[in-house]
């Protein structure tokens, strides 16, 4: 089993990093929403799916290709997120986070059922943009250009979001509003609007991941369901609500999963949960979470 050549290992590490970038993008959105809103956004996977489908719609119905979709899909899905927040989540403020979980779980069932009914389960084809087709022949593997693009985009977006929240005025207001909403409100800051913006931002990140995923995975109603459980594990391991934690853990677990696929592929969809169990036993607040 240890006879895996070093070259192959490099390839697998790289692939792990690529998959990790999807985990990072999705768990980042989840972490922001939980950290700042205290909502366990279970419909994150469904919104990721929605992002991919909006991209498909734009191409199929409006003739708009990948590049406009990259911008438009997060905006459209983000607007849908505003709707969810204003119409539903807002009513649950102050209640146990479990109510939010149930509500968003209901939204998942609704969205998934609707799309399965319309499109079936095998999904829709989505062509890769011409500019990103092909790839580089590295000494140890063939690296598709598109995957490089995905890692690049998600790294930039993750860093950007982290910087906005930790380093800007908007970010500091957001963080303050999480700590003590009435006090921040007393300073004349519109807290409910902050909350809406935050939710829309988290949701837009999910949609962006969906558009990025559309050309490589199938655009199918179940694409979110396949991923969301893993992403939740990532957030739990990283520490619920920790932004840096979710980014680092996302990439890290992607690599770990990649390595498992080489050494013991049968366990590749279990390994993350084994890690989660161990982390919860040793550090219940997660690797980067604040100990209560």
């Amino acid at each position: 089993m240890l006879a895996v050549p070093v070259q192959a290992l490099f390839g697998q590490l790289l692939i792990g990093l690529i998959n990790g970038s999807f985990y990072a993008l999705l768990s980042l959105g989840l972490a922001i929403i939980f950290g700042l809103l205290n909502v366990i956004n279970f419909c994150h996977g469904a919104l990721y799916m929605l992002g991919a489908f909006v991209a498909w719609f734009l191409l199929d119905k409006a003739g708009l290709g990948y590049w406009p979709a990259l911008l438009l899909a997060p905006i459209i899905v983000g607007a849908f997120g505003i709707l969810i927040e204003r119409l539903f989540l807002r009513r649950l403020v102050g209640l146990d986070p479990l109510y939010g979980l149930l509500l968003t779980f209901g939204i998942v069932l609704f969205l998934q059922g609707l799309f399965s009914n319309w499109f079936g389960s095998s999904g829709m084809p989505y062509e890769m943009p011409k500019q990103l087709q092909g790839g580089q022949a590295l000494p140890f593997m063939f690296l598709p250009n598109y995957r490089v693009w995905v890692v690049g985009v998600s790294a930039v977006v993750c860093l950007g979001v982290w910087a906005v929240i930790e380093r800007t005025r908007l970010g500091s207001r957001l963080r303050a509003a999480t700590e003590n909403a009435p006090l921040v409100g007393a300073f004349g800051i519109d807290v409910p609007r902050l909350v809406t913006i935050t939710y829309a931002l988290g949701v837009a990140l999910a949609a962006l991941a969906g558009v990025l995923a559309a050309p490589i995975y199938r655009v199918s109603p179940l694409m979110g369901a396949d991923l969301i459980v893993v992403v939740f594990a990532v957030v739990v391991i990283g520490g619920m609500g920790s932004i840096l934690g979710s980014i680092v853990t996302g990439f890290g677990l992607g690599v770990l999963e990649g390595l498992t696929k080489v050494f013991y592929p049968e366990a590749s969809n279990t390994v993350i949960f084994a890690v989660m169990a161990v982390v919860l036993l040793v550090r219940p607040a997660g690797l980067f979470g604040r100990q209560a």
Partner: protein, 406 residues
């Protein structure tokens, strides 16, 4: 005298109704369509299978004699415990006489056990594992549309004959994938090929790039995809992306359905060799039936599983008509084996002692985008393989019913 005549008449009527009742248990012929309604196999079976079964029922006017035929439907979520639970409930309290479809081999093997225990009828179309007519064969099961042996046999042999001597497998890690890999390996080795290695991946994997990298590193000429549904779609997409085919390796889709190719698009899937027992555009009869089916199924053309559901229900009802009873499942299956099969989709055929339905298999190649004239115009025929050459010989399956008959 008049009184006597009246009494005789009344008595005769009672006796007649009594026999009519006794013919078909509970006064109704009830067929349960059990499959994956919302998961990765929902398109290749799903509600489409229900529509196909309904077409078979409608064809006989919805009843046999005076006994109405009813269909019920349930989702087994690809979980053996849920599938066998539904089967038990259907038999014990809902008066179901036969279960049809059941994709996902692990679920089908569990359901087959329950059907045998309750002495009902199982018309298997969705599942692939050839064990259903091999070491797990049952006097209550008919395996209709396809099986892993025929797939491996037809596609595998064709690939080896085309020069693909060395193989690497991507195998879905459950009963079906393992059976498909095993059956294909036998064929490849017998034809002079060699297996260089393989990977077993979990069911429902979204990213196959790691596995494809391993396949690439193996240097095998052919990468055999021993998986199905969404897993196959994702493997083919990733293989396309990682330049597997450009570097001279070939993909062998061991179980690829029409709906998978539709989802992949011809640009990605073109040139892929695959085998099926049914394709809607084969002849005038299949075209006519499929058009009718598509109207009931949201415009989607039937897969071989859905076609098999229709044909097997047609034949089941034919056997009931002859037998005039559905009480003894084994007797019904025996009758189905005795009667020659003949339907618009699979033509003339027969059912073997081990429960295997024998019909032709077809090797297809996926069309290039330029060759396709419509949304569902996806395959071109490479060759037809007669049933007796496509399926596993009766003596090699290890079915206990066959050895007992000797």
């Amino acid at each position: 005298m008049k009184k006597l005549a009246a009494a005789t008449f009344v008595f005769a009527t009672i006796a007649l109704t009594a026999t009519a009742r006794a013919d078909f248990s509970d006064g109704v012929i009830k067929i349960g369509v059990l499959n994956d309604a919302s998961g990765l196999y929902a398109d290749l079976a799903g509600k489409g299978s229900l529509a196909a079964a309904q077409m078979a029922v409608d064809e006989v006017g919805g009843k046999i004699g005076k006994t109405p035929i009813e269909l019920v439907y349930a989702d087994h979520q690809n979980k053996p415990d849920i599938g066998s639970g539904i089967a038990r409930q259907w038999f014990d309290s809902d008066h179901v006489d036969a279960i049809v479809d059941v994709p996902t081999s692990s679920v089908a093997l569990a359901v087959s056990q329950v059907v045998k225990e309750k002495n009902k009828v199982f018309l298997a179309n969705g599942p692939g594992t050839s064990d259903l007519t091999g070491k797990a064969c049952s006097p209550n099961t008919v395996h209709w549309a396809y099986d892993t042996f025929a797939l491996g046999n037809v596609t595998g042999k064709a690939e080896v004959e085309a020069g693909g001597k060395t193989w690497f497998f991507l195998t879905a890690d459950y009963a079906f994938g393992q059976a498909l890999e095993r059956d294909t390996t036998k064929v490849v080795v017998a034809a002079g090929g060699k297996i260089l290695g393989g990977v077993k991946h979990p069911l429902n994997t979204s990213d196959f790039s790691s596995f494809l990298l391993q396949a690439q590193a193996s240097g095998a000429q052919v990468v055999g995809l021993a998986n199905a549904g969404g897993d196959t779609i994702n493997s083919i997409k990733a293989a396309h992306e990682f330049g597997l085919t450009k570097s001279g390796q070939k993909l062998a889709g061991l179980l690829v359905f029409l709906t998978d190719i539709h989802s992949l698009g011809l640009e990605t899937a073109q040139g892929l060799l695959l085998s099926e027992s049914f394709y809607w555009d084969r002849d005038a009869k299949t075209r006519a039936w499929s058009k009718k089916f598509a109207e009931k199924n949201g415009g989607k053309m039937p897969t071989m599983v859905q076609a098999g559901v229709y044909a097997s229900v047609v034949h089941y009802l034919k056997a009931l008509k002859e037998l005039k009873s559905d009480a003894d499942g084994k007797a019904v299956v025996d009758e189905m084996k005795k009667l020659p099969t003949d339907d618009v989709l699979f033509g003339k055929g027969s059912i073997r002692a081990d429960g295997r339905k024998i019909h032709s298999f077809y090797l297809y190649e996926v069309k290039k985008p330029a060759e396709s004239k419509g949304e569902w115009d996806l395959y071109k025929l490479v060759k037809e393989v007669p049933g007796d050459q496509a399926f596993r010989p009766l003596s090699e399956g290890g079915c206990s019913m066959v050895s007992a008959a000797k």
